[in-house]
């Protein structure tokens, strides 16, 4: 953001948020007094607030954490400092009170969160106008809302009128919150866990609840459409008041009707792999909503459908010939990242001597997307088969990153038998994917907060398999807001973060923090 020219003398007047029904216009009486003054006072106050937010979120955190002690020595604190809104000074909590008395400056910004503190209220104040700026800064990194411009150009002003909306719609009950279990229709827990993770994926939810897939316009006339079934399911979850479990009969029948050859073996009444079902569902929904082309594995596929916009990213493999140094790049789309566990667990076990060492997700990602491996390769310039180094990294990160931990693998050896790997893999609530992208390569990205922010993910849902390889049960955890829920077929329960983080995850879904 530092690159953007700041225009303090801009003639453009800053506007206070328009009054909205159900919310006060100002955060407190004192903010009201400040904002009811001349326009230039409003302008400078908001400019200052923006400047402070930039210094907090776009720069090294040490700067706002450092204040000047009385003797002029810089004092860096781990706890919050307060940045005066009216003058460029950073104060400790004790100094703040003194400063307020001396200069009659009443508003301060918390150096760690950017929240506004009002000394007259002696409390934090959540002013709609200023809080909007803060949330936007944290969320997208910018204050501008390009989205709004787009909306104004393309939306129908009549239809956006709240009166039009209220006279043509019925509000869903406050009880309808999307939290319902799904009944197990006989060994279908592998479907239930994937469906729950789709149902609590904000991007999928927004797509379906905003009429992204209209039954009337559905191309599949007469035929069965899995996307229409998803649409019905979203309606049932977010509009119906029922708290009883949901019977996913329409999705199940769509699954039986589907003629996907690649997933033919899935269509049985036996227990199945949730990851395969995830792939099936994603491909099926892509075909119903997308460009109609089948997603090809191993190539680059760009499509604007909801599935591609949500889940698909791109990988780049760079192969360097060890003989002539020639480099070839290959780009391919991915729906999910599959991380092998076994080799790494063995390697780590040998090193540490522990029998069943716990891995971290970052270690697994590092193994796949930072380290390079040797391979045989037919070099064009050498015109012969050569030793080469191959290195894969992420070229484009998806909005929802799905990760499969390969817990089910065929053990090569005497009996080619599939086995389940029970290695514990620790995964974080917040994941920084920057190191695994090709942008991280050969570039100093340490101080690039903007880039780091655009690669930060939050854990959204976790799918866990309990039991043996042949038989077991799937359960899942999904996050709604800040609360985690445990889904076990028709049963929904509250879950602690520690329950979630302690789970032996099989599939992980991370959502991008900022959609900038």
């Amino acid at each position: 953001m530092s690159a953007r020219p700041t225009t303090p003398a801009s003639p453009k007047n800053v506007k206070i948020k328009d009054p909205e029904a159900g919310t006060p216009v100002y955060g407190c009486e004192h903010v009201q007094r400040m904002f009811c003054q001349a326009q230039d006072v409003i302008n400078t106050s908001i400019q200052h607030y923006k400047m402070i937010l930039r210094s907090i979120f776009d720069n090294n955190t040490v700067v706002p954490q450092t204040s000047k002690a009385a003797d002029g020595q810089p004092l860096t604190s781990l706890t919050s400092n307060y940045l005066c809104l009216q003058c460029p000074v950073t104060l400790t909590e004790e100094e703040r009170t003194k400063h307020g008395k001396q200069k009659s400056h009443r508003f301060y910004v918390d150096s760690r969160s950017g929240s506004l503190y009002c000394q007259m209220c002696d409390d934090f104040v959540w002013d709609p106008t200023l809080e909007d700026l803060r949330v936007r800064k944290i969320g997208t990194g910018t204050f501008s809302s390009r989205k709004r411009k787009h909306e104004e150009m393309f939306s129908d002003p009549v239809k956006e009128d709240p009166r039009y909306i209220s006279s043509n719609t019925t509000t869903a009950s406050c009880r309808a919150n999307g939290l319902r279990g799904i009944y197990n229709a006989g060994a279908t827990c592998y479907q239930n866990v994937v469906l729950q993770s789709f149902l609590h994926n904000p991007m999928m939810r927004n797509f379906y609840l905003s009429d992204g897939h209209k039954r009337e316009n559905c191309r599949q006339e007469g035929e069965y459409c899995l996307s229409c079934a998803m649409d019905d399911t979203f309606q049932e979850f977010y509009a119906a008041e029922s708290t009883n479990g949901y019977t996913a009969a329409n999705i199940l029948s769509g699954f039986w009707i589907s003629e996907k050859k690649a997933f033919e073996n899935l269509v049985t009444t036996k227990e199945q792999d949730a990851h395969e079902f995830f792939q099936f569902l994603a491909e099926e929904l892509h075909e119903r909503n997308g460009d109609g082309k089948k997603p090809e594995i191993g190539s680059e596929h760009s499509c604007n459908c909801i599935i591609h916009q949500t889940f698909y990213g791109k990988l780049q493999s760079t192969t360097t010939c060890q003989h002539c140094g020639g480099v070839t790049n290959q780009v391919q789309s991915f729906l999910d990242l599959s991380l092998p566990l076994e080799n790494l667990a063995q390697k780590k076990g040998k090193k540490s001597g522990a029998k069943a060492p716990a891995l971290t997700l970052q270690e697994c990602l590092e193994e796949e997307y930072i380290k390079s491996d040797k391979c045989e390769y037919r070099c064009h310039s050498c015109n012969s088969t050569q030793q080469a180094r191959r290195q894969t990294s992420i070229k484009r990160l998806p909005n929802v990153l799905s990760i499969q931990l390969k817990r089910f693998e065929y053990k090569q050896g005497r009996h080619d038998k599939a086995a389940k790997i029970e290695t514990q893999v620790q995964f974080p609530l917040q994941l920084n994917m920057l190191p695994y992208t090709n942008r991280a390569r050969g570039q100093d990205t340490k101080d690039n907060y903007e880039l780091a922010r655009s690669c930060t993910y939050d854990l959204l849902s976790v799918i866990v398999h309990v039991g043996e390889i042949d038989t077991g049960h799937y359960v899942s955890y999904c996050r709604v807001g800040d609360q985690w829920f445990a889904f076990n077929d028709h049963r929904v329960e509250l879950a602690n973060k520690s329950d979630v983080l302690g789970a032996k995850a099989y599939l992980l879904f991370y959502i991008i923090r900022s959609l900038a």
Binding site: C28, T170, N244
Partner: protein, 391 residues
């Protein structure tokens, strides 16, 4: 570094500690302070915004009452202890955390229930108050977040006829509670049935997958028999003996889910008949459908009775009757099993939710999810956590 502790003052180094020890203690103490500070700030934000909104909703309601028309007269000036309505604007008076004690739902304007009704941290709600339907989630072992639990699924295939009849007797009267449903509290649910999209028959949900396998898919008995036959016959075809008498080995080859107890005698019957058994083996088809469809209705009723006087009061409220319809209609789709087609054609009012007040947010994010959908999400989600007690 003379201080032996940080801002929280919880973790203090002993007096004789070295400077490095003191520093380590101070750092840990500060970090602890920050964690608590952040948690507190989050709860504070949710709570204060919700209370400020409550103050605004109250004063707007008074203003709208005073102007005696659906549109609020902007000339009206109303003042409460917490807020002022003037010139079409709501401004706060004092700190909403002090002036406003309860939280009104920003959508239905009814007070939020602030404590769960059962389980951990439960408190008895005031029976005279109509609360918003969004309740704090219940945390109670053996129960789900809505305080529901399930009757243990029957013994499956081995279900005795007696059990079935008893169950039907309980469910068929529908409206009047029977002894059996009295025994069962309203929060104990039974597994529902669903309609097969192909044969339109009503199947208990736990058997739905198996049924669909045989009805839509071709993993049913006949298919696997055919496959087994092909394998056992090898190339030589025309072994008529196999067609008439199924070899016992192929019967065992039928995919059997874990729940099904092996009962060879029943398995000899046709798959179709197995499904009939779910409803009532003696009745003709049409009658069979109804009793199995009804259990849901009973559940529905029971749930309505749960909060007691609440529902009736809500019904009387004209504003909310529309809302009730929304919730009822999608359910009806499932309930009226035989008429499924006709009901599904009627545009469900629930569908209109899509245009609801949330629409700008939702719609905004969908064509261009790259916009700040995340933020929008934050806002709506954080408001959702308001009434839930901190865990």
């Amino acid at each position: 570094m003379s201080s032996s502790t940080g801002k929280a003052g919880v973790i203090a180094a002993p007096d004789e500690s070295t400077n490095m020890d003191k520093l380590a203690h101070a750092v840990l103490d500060d970090v602890l302070y920050n964690i608590v500070h952040d948690l507190l700030l989050k709860v504070h934000r949710d709570e204060k915004i919700a209370r400020a909104a409550t103050a605004a909703i109250r004063v707007e309601k008074l203003a709208s009452d005073a102007s005696e028309s659906p549109e609020i007269n902007p000339d009206v000036r109303i003042e409460t202890d917490a807020a002022t309505y003037e010139a079409g604007k709501v401004t706060l008076k004092g700190n909403p955390l002090k002036t406003t004690k309860e939280i009104l739902c920003p959508r239905c304007h009814l007070p939020r229930l602030l404590y769960p009704t059962d389980g951990k941290g439960a408190r008895k709600p005031d029976p005279t108050v109509i609360y918003c339907k969004k309740h704090p989630y219940i945390e109670k072992p053996g129960y789900d977040i809505y305080g529901q639990t399930w009757v243990a699924p029957g013994p499956g295939r081995g279900k005795k006829k007696k059990d079935m009849e008893k169950k039907l007797g309980d469910d068929s009267p529908g409206m009047t509670p029977t002894p059996d449903s009295k025994e069962r509290p309203p929060n104990v649910l039974s597994f529902p049935s669903a309609t097969c999209s192909k044969c339109k028959r009503c199947i208990l949900v736990t058997r739905l997958n198996n049924h669909m396998g045989s009805c839509i898919g071709n993993s049913g008995r006949n298919a696997s028999r055919a496959a087994a036959q092909k394998i056992s016959n090898g190339g030589s075809n025309g072994n008529s003996q196999n067609n008439d008498n199924t070899p016992p080995s192929s019967q065992k080859g039928t995919p059997v889910p874990g729940s099904r107890a092996p009962s060879p005698r029943k398995r000899d019957a046709d798959e179709m008949e197995d499904d009939y058994e779910e409803s009532d083996p003696t009745n003709p088809k049409k009658k069979k459908l109804k009793p199995t469809a009804l259990p849901k209705k009973v559940i529905l009723k029971n749930k309505g009775q749960g909060p007691g006087p609440k529902k009736e009061k809500v019904k009387a409220n004209s504003l909310l009757s529309g809302e009730l319809k929304v919730s009822a209609s999608p359910k009806l789709k499932n309930l009226e099993v035989p008429h499924k087609k006709s009901t599904s054609k009627i545009p469900s009012p629930a569908k209109k939710l899509k245009l609801g007040p949330q629409k700008p947010q939702l719609a905004a994010a969908s064509p261009m999810p790259k916009a700040n959908g995340r933020e929008v999400d934050d806002v709506s989600e954080s408001s959702g956590t308001l009434s839930s007690p901190p865990r």
